[in-house]
Symmetry: C2
Subunit: 271 residues, 2 copies
């Protein structure tokens, strides 16, 4: 009886997480579909989290997904095999030294990559070189400064700031989402347009509360606890109060907001 319940619960849990994941996939990917026969570079595919929806939404496109980490690529490839994808080719490469000729691709797709780079404009300009004239780039990034919630909590904001500061110390920028417009313009792209994609989670959306507020955002902030304390950024007690306050926003009367940004740019048609 207990086993049956547990399995049943697991199955429901799996469906719920799937629903939540699908909500975020739709939010970020639903308006990106590349035409039959087009060549697409996914720069920085990591473990392939975005590769699967990218390839599924563009079944006729030929996608090359690169990453600097061989271990991540192996995981991405395994995922793509399980998903039965046949239109993706994986290749190990540094985003600043990509082994492709100029103007090799019709489209470039970059998701959750710029936030880790100390020279995002240079990276975008490098990717622009690989686009044919008239080709497009799509960039998706989060922005941890877009997180606000009810009940509000100074300690929670302080815990989030630890993550932002640690990412900054590592050369990245966790507040990069809001900057996509100027970054794409400064990298030389034309017809730049940015659209925010806001996640709003209250208790009428339990899948999103569980999957995003708790298991994605708060879990990520919680994950920097040791590092933040070691760096003397925060008192352990304050950090823990902050994490509890973030989980508190997932309760019946809580609300959590976060915004992703999606930018589209074009390489001018004149060569």
């Amino acid at each position: 009886m207990n086993r049956i319940y547990v399995h049943g619960y697991d199955r429901r849990e799996s469906v719920r997480l799937q629903d939540q994941a699908q909500t975020l996939v739709d939010l970020l990917h639903s308006d990106t579909s590349y035409p039959e026969g087009s060549s697409v570079l996914e720069a920085g595919c990591g473990i392939g989290a975005q590769t699967i929806p990218l390839a599924r939404n563009s079944p006729g496109a030929r996608i090359v997904s690169v990453d600097i980490s061989a271990a991540s690529l192996a995981e991405a490839k395994a995922k793509a095999d399980v998903a039965g994808l046949t239109n993706v080719q994986f290749q190990q490469a540094d985003i600043f030294a990509l082994p492709f000729d100029p103007q090799s691709f019709d489209h470039v797709f970059v998701c959750f990559v710029l936030e880790h780079l100390s020279q995002p404009i240079e990276a975008l300009a490098t990717l622009r070189e690989l686009l044919r004239p008239g080709g497009t780039i799509t960039v998706i990034e989060g922005d941890h400064g877009s997180a606000y919630f009810h009940p509000d909590s100074d300690a929670a904001h302080m815990a989030i700031r630890c993550q932002v500061e640690l990412q900054r110390a590592a050369g990245g920028n966790a507040l990069i989402g809001r900057q996509l417009y100027p970054l794409l313009r400064q990298a030389g792209f034309d017809a730049v347009g940015v659209s925010p994609r806001m996640v709003y989670a209250d208790s009428s959306r339990p899948d999103l509360v569980d999957g995003f507020t708790k298991k994605t955002f708060t879990a990520m902030i919680e994950g920097v606890r040791e590092e933040a304390i070691k760096a003397a950024m925060v008192e352990p007690e304050v950090f823990d109060v902050g994490i509890r306050a973030l989980y508190r926003t997932a309760e019946q009367d809580g609300v959590f907001c976060y915004t992703f940004f999606k930018g589209l740019g074009q390489k001018a048609a004149r060569a």
Copy 2:
């Protein structure tokens, strides 16, 4: 020549402000339209800024717009006359002592009102009494904690915090937008749904940058300068640096984000 230019410019300026205003009206009002013959209470109409689009989107509804201030009502009525509205009746009344029988209205509309009340749940519960069973309430509020921008600036956040603290001292809540879901639930409404309406302004949207970033949001924060300094909330120099930083976000490479929240609730059909 100069006069012609000036007039031409003024006309363009007027068209631009109109465009920007229309963008915000669409963002907040486009999905609110009440059926022919329905009775609608607009609680707290102020000088009628929302009354015009409300009445235009529901030409067949009978709208009663109330406000506690006779002066504001006179201005609202003048505006409605200029707009040629025939479906709105204005009436002076306190939101906590409205001169209507229970269950008098099919719908209630409340925009930018709760932020000024120290007892928002009680106000909502009072309005619920005036709804017939099955009737709906629509609530729109901003949230100053949803403002973030590029370039980022601690002084700008400090200036915004002055406005939030002054509003709190006056019994209001400038961070109320994010709370609409729990407030509506706690006031007894059913089928509550809240949707965020984000304003995103970069230099590809000059009307929004000018009309919202500069002339709406930054001008409003700038407006509390004397009061904030008098209350010793901030050094004048810091406040001014903050205001300059907010205007800075309206430049070519700047970005400004702000979110309004729109909540819908229903009074259960069982009486």
